[in-house]
Symmetry: C2
Subunit: 244 residues, 2 copies
């Protein structure tokens, strides 16, 4: 049996950093999808294994807490393991560490499986997943309820484009993050940084779909966000900022 | 001395494919930037070497010809080498091959160095670069002149956002490609694919800059594009489509 905790190594790439010279939240999301995808494939429940059963993994929620953003050409390691496995949802945890082993990011994600025909949730193979549950600490608050802000804000219009689509023809989960973070002004990114980012995917965005992007400060330095289609949220998120 | 031709291996990632299950042109661009950046660093003229001299590489032009797009979880190898080295411009070539060694993509790119203070072109170290000129065939037509289309088309407005910015605070070279390809309708991506894509970077996009994106079919299945700021092109591109 493979070890429960998967380890993946990355070196940050200069041309993928933001204007601060730091890895972005969507890029950290990409590292996590890489690790999740490979950790699952190697253990018999990856993309292809799911496709064979006419099912697909769907990311339902993700919460990440960032104590330090990786800098240029920095080698990092990402650990991933299964935290819990239920009939409809499984929890996958992540720890991103620097070369000295110091934690930089912790994250907790919730995944469901859907039937590719009906697009409805389908039961998970709890037994197979449970084999890989690791008893490792993941000090990140569980993804919680995010209160709506779409009715109190006007919203920025956005239409789903070719480059937003994933292999299923839906708005890519990383692109949701990108569009939401683009709601913040550059001055905020200069003065502060996001210490906690949380996102809940509610339904699928499709090509050409007219969306509205919403953002509201609900407490000092804490913003709730939503992406809506015809007034109904397809995604909610929250970002907490801190001066460093 | 390191070999002249650098080789870089990738495995395409399912969550980064487009709706056709194929690697996108911007993703191929990312592979090329990765290879270029590492090939240069290992040979003493990378990002950090340039920064020490208060200079930076700037991608000026890129033309790629794609005979086959990498599919899901496909292992590919990317070769890169220097084609020519002049006082102000150097030419870098690329060949992307599949696991059997069959060429899938060829590309030719033109790079300049700029002084980081003045943002003006600065002479290259022709001697150092010339050591690595490889005599390998790169069957892709040189990037040429792209005729303007901005005066004949209305243009789609776009404002530069946080996620568009690179480490220098300018519109990321890959993001230009992404925004330009988003000008095409999904039906076209379904029926045809781009066999040649060419882009010329003319000046830097900055945060909040209001841009207009232009596209015009100049011959059957051949489109010229432009990104303009206040009516002046900051980028021109062309895409030729083919039925496969």
């Amino acid at each position: 049996m493979l070890e429960k905790i998967g380890t993946f190594h990355f070196v940050t790439e200069s041309y993928l950093l933001d204007f601060r010279g730091r890895v972005t939240i969507p890029m950290i999301g990409n590292y996590m999808l890489h690790a999740a995808s490979n950790h699952a494939s190697l253990r018999g429940f990856g993309f292809s294994d799911m496709t064979e059963k006419h099912t697909a993994w769907v990311l339902s929620r993700l919460a990440m807490e960032i104590s330090r953003y990786p800098a240029m050409s920095e080698p990092v390691a990402l650990y991933t393991w299964i935290g819990e496995a239920g009939r409809l949802f499984t929890q996958r945890c992540f720890e991103l560490v620097d070369a000295a082993g110091n934690p930089m990011v912790y994250a907790r994600s919730i995944w469901a499986a859907i039937d590719m025909q009906t697009r409805r949730p389908t039961p998970l193979d709890v037994e197979a997943l449970s084999v890989y549950i690791a008893d490792k600490s993941c000090p990140v608050e569980k993804p919680g309820k995010i209160s709506p802000v779409e009715n109190e804000t006007e919203g920025v219009p956005y239409k789903v484009k070719y480059s937003d689509l994933d292999i299923n023809g839906h708005l890519n989960s990383i692109k949701y993050m990108e569009h939401l973070l683009d709601l913040f002004d550059l001055d905020l990114f200069t003065a502060k940084e996001v210490k906690r980012f949380e996102i809940a995917y509610l339904s699928e965005g499709r090509y050409g779909m007219p969306l509205t992007l919403h953002r509201k400060e609900t407490a000092p330095d804490k913003y709730n966000m939503a992406i809506c289609h015809e007034g109904k949220a397809i995604c909610r998120a929250t970002a907490s900022w801190i001066v460093r």
